[in-house]
Assembly symmetry: C2
Homo-oligomer: 76 residues x 2
């Protein structure tokens, strides 16, 4: 997600469109990206650290964006 | 997120770049959008339904994208 101090024109545009479409009461909208990274097998601490490094170096721009990493289990 | 049957060129590009950057073992990458909608006060069922309607009509393209809505509490 864009850092709080960074302008977010896409979020602002969505926020501006909401009242016209009948949605009131929204204080703010921020738009960012979401990546789903699929790994095979167990996600241990090392692999999670690797995904963190991936998010930091490739998936986000750390100058203007924050990121969080969540693990979701899927049973195949 | 793009539906599973929809091609995701951004996700494919990221997936292709990972081995070159030293990240192995990733089965798949999908890229989508994330919106943070800030509301004031309690989020009851009606307001949650309104956010669902917002996601369906304005924030996503239901032909090619799926969406999920999560509520996160913040104490100010």
């Amino acid at each position: 997600m864009p850092k709080p101090e960074i302008l977010d024109p896409q979020g602002k545009a969505v926020h501006g469109a909401l009242p016209r479409l009948g949605f009131a009461d929204v204080v703010d909208v921020r738009q960012g990206k979401r990546f789903e990274i699929e790994l095979e097998g167990e996600v241990d601490e090392d692999r999670l650290a690797e995904v963190h490094r991936m998010a930091e170096t490739l998936l986000s721009n750390p100058v203007i964006e924050n990121f969080t990493v969540h693990v979701e289990e899927t049973v195949s």
